[in-house]
């Protein structure tokens, strides 16, 4: 168990998990704000939720779930010393992340087109609860999008390290940690989907 090299993989993972704790609480705060607002405006949230394009939301869920799968598979490949496959899986995650962002961009621009964005003159004519709904929608999906971008950055960096053999079968905690981050971003989306697209 104790390697000769001075290294504490469990310590690194613990540190990563503690960092994830802060991320969970960060989004947790948003979810709490969402529930408080939804409690106040149940009808308006229902109305406004109908404006969102559920199909795109569902497609994006499938995309993200799959990307999560490929990350975890890349770790399995790494454990088996299969560098080629690791690279393959990681790259497909990156591609899926990009697909997610592109779909998101289409969705957002459609909303902009309809004047459904914060401070839009059209939005200001809607009932207050719907304005709050769209405020939350843009804040939460926007922040989530930023995390996707960050996660892709981290994964790309790990991919580089895999190619450079700095991340290897006997030393892959960086890959694990990057994967953890990506999964967390996925989990957040798992919650965003029903909150905004399905059950609003």
């Amino acid at each position: 168990m104790t390697e000769h090299v001075h290294r504490d993989d469990f310590g690194s993972r613990l540190g990563m998990w503690l960092f994830l704790v802060t991320e969970m609480v960060l989004f947790g705060g948003l979810f709490i704000a969402y529930s408080a607002m939804r409690h106040r405006y149940p009808m308006e949230f229902h109305q406004a939720g109908a404006e969102l394009n559920a199909t795109l939301g569902i497609i994006n869920t499938v995309v993200l779930l799959t990307s999560s799968l490929t990350v975890v598979l890349s770790i399995v490949a790494m454990q088996r010393g299969d560098k080629k496959r690791t690279i393959g899986f990681l790259s497909s995650t990156l591609v899926l992340g990009l697909v997610f962002l592109i779909i998101k961009a289409f969705e957002w621009s459609a909303k902009f087109h309809h004047g459904l964005y914060p401070n839009a003159p059209h939005l200001a004519t809607l009932p207050p609860g719907e304005q709050v709904f769209f405020g939350l929608y843009f804040s939460m999906t926007g922040l989530h999008g930023l995390h996707i971008v960050a996660g892709m950055g981290v994964l790309a960096w790990v991919l580089y390290m895999v190619i450079q053999n700095q991340v290897r079968a006997d030393r892959y905690v960086h890959l694990e940690n990057a994967g953890l981050y990506w999964h967390l971003v996925d989990v957040i989306w798992i919650f965003l989907l029903p909150l905004f697209y399905l059950a609003a």
């Binding site: 469990f10 969970m24 779930l65 799968l69 975890v72 454990q79 996925d186 798992i190 399905l198 059950a199």
Partner: protein, 97 residues
């Protein structure tokens, strides 16, 4: 002493496990979508039950919690517990205003 075991000690799960989990996740998503077409109440119930289940699967398998010692599990539980309490106490105001 707690959780000083490392995952190296255990056998690593293979591709199959994770693919199975992925399929289950997709199925759950499908159910969720289906429920949302049934009606508002069903959709909310789906939200309250299936979504945490999905998240739990990701945590447990994809994020390897299943294969980690008690410490990391405790970390996650403490965090979720804290959020739950924040939520409950906030609603002691919001719900009774």
């Amino acid at each position: 002493m707690d959780a000083h075991t490392t995952s190296e000690a255990q056998a690593h799960p293979g591709y199959g496990t994770f693919i199975k989990v992925w399929v289950v996740l997709l199925l759950l998503t499908g159910t969720l979508v289906g429920l949302s077409h049934v009606g508002q109440t069903a959709a909310v119930w789906g939200l309250l039950t299936l979504t945490p289940l999905k998240a739990g699967l990701v945590f447990y398998f994809f994020m390897h919690l299943k294969y980690e010692g008690p410490l990391l599990k405790a970390v996650v539980l403490v965090t979720l517990g804290t959020l739950l309490i924040f939520f409950a106490l906030l609603f002691s105001d919001v719900a009774f205003r």
